[in-house]
Each structure stands twice: as structure tokens, then as C-alpha cells.
């Protein structure tokens, strides 16, 4: 044994040195310049947070892009959604080792611009690949420019809009039919107005015995926020941030009512009080809950499951119903952004490559619409293919009208402190660990502390 081991050890130690030398050269971006130098396709490094059903559609677009030409190839990584993603981006910016392009939430633009993580894209740069600001959903562009003006360079966009996405209600047609909640046209009825909705839930509960409305809340403040914010706006709460300042006056009244509605449902066994996101999806797709209140990004999960034959019921998707004075529903927007790498600024060539990729993605946004989203690119948004896409056409038109975006503030939005406050105080109210008054008071106090 010893005789063999000694030379083996010597060889391994000898291998260590060149390993170090080679290893030292491995950096983000090193490979792509090496590849293009030898004539291979240039690599574009992309970071996204799109796991879930829509992630599959996203991967498809990128694969199609790679297959459609041989000058550029996209190497994409899907990282954990939310805070971890934005923390990683910031660390990467500081280290000067950023991806070339990334997905980014419109709601995180204020925080991202303040942190210096985003590089603005001028209209001229977009025009170099045949795009202009006016090609996109004016609602999204307007909101984005407002943010640019308030926090960064006025007149420039800090990302190219990809979509608007919103909170919808998935429903189990078979159960609804049993409960008499399916109209003659096959669409749900009797769900307008909080009293009718609650009665409908109770009717379903008496039939199935299980919890009728599934909503994720365990380790998922984002879902709780989406529901609460929707109810808050439907109750007329209005803007939570105006001109960069927080406007929290109505939280004690309107916000309390919104939370009370959710808590009442939970306590009556009508809303799942403490399940994880994965469980929420699993409960609905296995037919145990009749409704799932979730983002539109689980549409492809349903589509794929139905195609494979693993969905044991007929499903539908509707825009979130009007429960109070209006039908406002939470919405956000995915953008494609370029990180602001000050240590190693993006070269003009790479920028062109990235814009080429963005242009391709936008032109093929119909695939992205398969992820349940409302594309931002007008030619696709207004096209007939989208109008015929099922189940998108069941909810998209209405959802676009109801879309109410996150407050413009570094405190609100994905990966921002407000979600922590939701998780700390609103979620425990659902499980009865905090009273609604306590929860709202503490929630408001924490939001105020963030504003400093």
C-alpha cells in the first residue's frame, strides 16, 4: 500500500500547483472572452429567478434563441426568488463579477437604483436593435419612467419591460359545478362581493369537507402580501407611497379590514392558514382545494399537467373577483435589466449582444405568455395568437384592467423590507398567533421604521 501511495501522493501534490494556476483564472466572463477569441459563439451570462411553471417557458425561449443562430449562446442560471436574488446581484456588483443580463422586478427598481445595481438603457440603445419605448405597454413604461425620475436618471428605463403579472384565482370546475357555482357559460358565478364569495366558500366546504381556498403563507410573505394588498386596494386604500414618501394613514382602518377578511376566512376553515407554496400547488393540482389564489405563473403547471393527463379535474383561471368597491388586483412587472458593473463595465459589443437577446425574447413573448403572463411587447399583446391562447384569454383582458402595481418605494416590492413586515405580523394573524389589531399596529410601526 505504502509503495503505491507515495508516488500517488507526489503526483497529486504536483497536480495541485497547475490546478491553482488554472483555477485562479476562472472568473465570470473569462470563459466568454476566451470562447469568442477562438471563434466559438460568444456566451451571454443571464441570471433569473424564474422557477415554477413559467420558468420552463423561459428556458424554452432561451434554448430557441441558442438554436436560432450560432453567434451567441445564453448561459442562464435560475436563482432563488426574492431577497436572495437581489442580495446576490448586489454582491456581484460590488465584486465586479456580474452576469451580463438579468431579470428584475419593476417593484425592486427603486431599491436597485439606490443601491447602484442597475445600468439604465437609453432609448437610443434600444433603437440599435429595432426597439423603442413606444413598443411596450404604455402603463408599464410610464410607471418605470416615474421610478427613473424619482430615483435615477430621468427619461431612461432601467430595464426593458417583459410582462405584467398578477394575482388570479384558479378554480376546480368539477367542484364548482357540484356547488352550483358554475354558470351556463362555464364560468364561475356568485363570487362577486365578499359576502357571496364567503358563502360560496362555505358551500364548497360543506360539500368537500376540506378547505376550499388555498393560499400559500408558510415562509411565503409574498403570497400573503398579494392577497392583502388586493383587498386593501379593493377597499379603496389607495397609494401606499406617494412621491417617495410612505402613505400609511389608511392601514389602521382599511388595512385592518383587509386583514380581518383574511383572518375570518382562515378561522372559519375557508382559507388555508399555514401551508407552503409547494403544498399550495400540490393541494390544488391533486384536487383537494377548490380554489387557488396565486400568481398567473402557475398556468403552465396546469396546462402541462392537463396535457400529461395527471390533472384529475377540469380547471379554469379567472381574474380575481371584485369583493369590495372595485376590482383592483395586485400586479408587478418583470423586466430584463443590465447590471451596473462599475469595476468591469459592460463592453459595447456585449451590450449589443444583450440587446439582441432582449429583442429576440420580446419578439417571442408569445412563448412567455404561455407562462401565464401578460406580455409587455405590444405587437404580441395585441396579437391574435394571444387572444386565442387558453386559458390566458379567460383572465388576461380583465386582469390587465385591474392590474394595480406595487407602491413605488424602496420599502415595498420584491426583496424589500415590507415583505419581512408582512411575514412578521400579517402571517401570524392568519394562524391566530397575533390579534388583528396587534398585527396591523405592529405592521404599520415596522413599515414606518423602514422609512427612516
Amino acid at each position: 500500500m505504502k509503495k503505491v501511495v507515495r508516488p500517488v501522493l507526489a503526483v497529486s501534490l504536483a497536480l495541485l500547483l497547475p490546478l491553482f494556476a488554472w483555477a485562479g483564472g476562472q472568473k465570470e466572463g473569462a470563459a466568454s472572452s476566451a470562447a469568442s477569441a477562438t471563434g466559438g459563439p460568444t456566451k451571454i451570462v443571464l441570471w433569473d429567478f424564474l422557477s415554477g411553471g413559467d420558468g420552463v417557458r423561459w428556458t424554452q425561449i432561451l434554448n430557441d434563441f441558442n438554436a436560432s443562430q450560432n453567434k451567441l449562446v445564453v448561459d442562464h442560471t435560475t436563482l432563488t426568488w426574492g431577497d436572495p436574488f437581489y442580495t446576490k446581484v448586489h454582491t456581484a456588483v460590488i465584486a465586479g463579477q456580474t452576469p451580463d443580463v438579468m431579470t428584475y422586478h419593476l417593484s425592486h427598481f427603486p431599491a436597485g437604483i439606490i443601491a447602484g445595481d442597475l445600468r439604465p438603457l437609453t432609448e437610443a440603445e434600444l433603437q440599435s436593435v429595432g426597439l423603442s419605448y413606444s413598443d411596450f405597454n404604455p402603463v408599464l413604461v410610464k410607471r418605470s419612467l416615474e421610478i427613473s425620475k424619482a430615483y435615477g436618471k430621468a427619461g431612461d428605463l432601467y430595464g426593458v419591460p417583459l410582462d405584467a403579472h398578477t394575482f388570479v384565482l384558479y378554480y376546480n370546475k368539477d367542484i364548482l359545478k357540484q356547488a352550483g357555482l358554475l354558470g351556463a357559460d362555464g364560468n364561475p358565478t356568485g363570487l362577486t362581493g365578499v359576502d357571496s364569495f364567503t358563502a360560496a366558500l362555505q358551500k364548497i366546504k360543506s360539500i368537500t369537507g376540506g378547505t376550499p381556498l388555498g393560499m400559500s403563507s408558510a415562509n411565503d410573505p409574498a403570497s400573503v402580501w398579494r392577497m392583502w394588498y388586493t383587498l386593501y386596494e379593493q377597499l379603496g386604500g389607495g397609494e401606499l407611497a406617494v412621491g417617495g414618501k410612505l402613505n400609511l394613514d389608511k392601514i389602521d382602518t382599511v388595512g385592518k379590514k383587509a386583514l380581518q377578511t383574511m383572518v375570518d376566512w382562515a378561522q372559519a376553515g375557508l382559507l388555508t392558514p399555514n401551508i407552503s407554496y409547494a403544498a399550495d400547488v400540490a393541494l390544488f393540482t391533486s384536487g383537494k382545494t377548490a380554489f387557488m389564489a396565486n400568481g398567473n405563473w402557475e398556468v403552465p403547471t396546469m396546462v402541462d399537467a392537463q396535457k400529461k393527463g395527471t390533472l384529475p379535474f377540469s380547471y379554469g383561471v379567472m381574474a380575481f373577483p371584485q369583493l369590495f368597491g372595485n376590482r383592483d388586483t395586485w400586479a408587478d412587472s418583470h423586466n430584463i435589466s443590465v447590471p451596473n458593473n462599475t469595476k468591469n463595465p459592460i463592453s459595447a459589443d456585449m451590450l449589443k449582444n444583450v440587446l439582441t437577446l432582449i429583442a429576440y425574447i420580446e419578439h417571442h413573448a408569445i412563448v412567455w405568455a404561455g407562462g401565464g403572463h401578460l406580455p409587455a411587447y405590444l405587437p404580441v399583446l395585441n396579437g391574435t395568437e394571444l387572444a386565442n391562447m387558453v386559458p390566458n384569454n379567460e383572465y388576461s383582458v380583465q386582469a390587465a384592467k385591474d392590474a394595480t402595481f406595487e407602491p413605488v418605494s424602496p420599502v415595498f416590492g420584491v426583496g424589500d423590507p415590507a415583505y419581512d413586515a408582512v411575514g412578521n405580523f400579517l402571517t401570524p394573524a392568519l394562524t391566530g398567533q397575533l390579534s388583528v389589531s396587534d398585527a396591523i399596529a405592529k405592521f404599520k410601526a415596522q413599515l414606518q421604521s423602514y422609512a427612516q
Partner: protein, 307 residues
Amino acid sequence: MTPNVEIADPAPRAPARRAGRKIQSVSWRTIVLLVAPFTIVYLVFLIYPTLRVIELSFTNSDIAGVGHFIGGRNYQLLMKDPLFWASLWHTIYFIILTVVPNTLVGLVFGLMVVRLKRLRNTALALFFLPYILPVSVVTQIWLWVLDPNFGIINFLTRLKINWFSEAAWAMPAVAFVTIWWTVGFNVLLFIAGLEAIPREYYEAAALDGAGGGFRSFLYITWPLLWPVTSLVLLLQLIAQWQIFNQVYLLTAGGPYNSTIVVLQYMYVRAFQQQQGGYASAISVVLFVIILITSLVYLRFVRLRGNT
């Protein structure tokens, strides 16, 4: 005795021989070449950061190193920071839930396994296997096993508890996973310690009619095992003060920040909120706590129990 400072002379010199002393004819160059690499690594990557973290704690540096001196302001804020104190209590709670229980469980399993002859290695491997898995594999497994809706534990026990999402159960669940993961280490050490106790002691006690079982455990095993037991306790104490991985991966500090621990809070302030100076203050406080804990432990606990 100082070394011969002549450099690079490989020719053999007549060795200076003194009874019981080492032979000296080694050049400084050789000594430096032998000692320097590790010493440099040690200085640069342990000593320097330790000094720098103290320095940083008096600044308002961000995570890019940009900032200036602000005196003791970080510490003042820290003393009034409710989340910091909460993270401290949570860490202490975690320590209470793991240090002694893990040691006891390790001892019990050690006593069980050391009796076996042919099956000992198999049995030890069963308890030790979790220990060689990476922490993230362990947490992924337990997140699934303890899944509230579809996990096997809730199925077998008919419970509906959301283990990592209910404030009452979250920390105990994390503690249990920690014990599952690391008890093998303790079992191994206890087996080594138990094996080192000479059989004659037990035989002598049996001859004296002292009886077996519990009494021999109390009067022979426990005292002779004490060096191992106290070592296991100390190692765990130091390790669990620095707990981060399991909490971050299982509960992320939730639910509602009820399980956030000190090191995690440091991470949040440093990398999520980009406050390097403040995070350094937290680090320094943690360092001091660990230092004091170890010294107090060594002074009072290890001194006792010398049979």
C-alpha cells in the same frame, strides 16, 4: 540554543552533541521555508481579519469597504437593537436544546454500540452516516420528511403540525435535525472513551459485590468518561454559538423572526442591508461571548471531576 545562521550549506557539519538536546545545524532559510507558508496563511486569513473586524466595528462601512470612523456608535445601537437581543436569546435557546441533549443522546448510543462486537462497525456507521452529509442535504431531507402536508412523519404520527413554520415548534425542530445530523460525532468519541476504560475496574467492582448496571455506570464509567464528556460539551458549546446553516436553511429565521440567530442576523445586516460596520460589531460581540464562554467553561467545568 540558537541555530547556526550559515546559509545554504548542505555539507554535513560535525553535530554539536549534548545529552538530551536536539542536534542543531539547521539554516534559517530552511526554517523559514518550512514555517512561513502556513504562518503567512494563518496571519493573513485569521489574525488580520480578526483585527480588522474589530476596526470595522467602529466604522459605518458598507459591504464594499466604503465608510468612515464613527466611534462606538454601532455598539450603542446594538445595545438598543431588539432584533439583536432576540437573536441572542434564540441562540441561547438553541444551545439549551442541543448541547446537553446531543451529548446525552450520544452517550446513550455510545453505550449501546460499544457492547456490540461483530455488528459494532455497522451500528456506528448507521449513526455516523448523517454526520458526513453536507448540511444542505440534511436540511433538504428533513424539510421533506417533516413536510406538514405530505411528509412521512406527519403521516405516521397523524399530526398536522407545520414543524418549521410554527413558532413553538420551529426551534425544537431545528435542534432535533441538528442532533440527528451531528450525534454520530459524539457517539464516536464516546466509544473511544468507553473503550479506554480498563475492564479490570468493572471486574473488580463486580468482585467487591458492588453490583453491575447503574452503580458501575455512576461510579466507574461516568467519572472515567468525564474528560470525553466535558470535551464533547465544550466542542458543542463553541459550535452552537456559531449556528447559522441549519437555521438559515430550515426556517430562514422565521417564523416571524422567531428563530433568527446571532450569526444570521450578522449576515442579514452585512449582505442584505449592506452594513458592514454594524455587522462587524455583531461579530465582535459574538466573538467575545464565545471567548468568555470557553474560558469560563475551561476554568470551572474541566477543573472539576478529576478523579
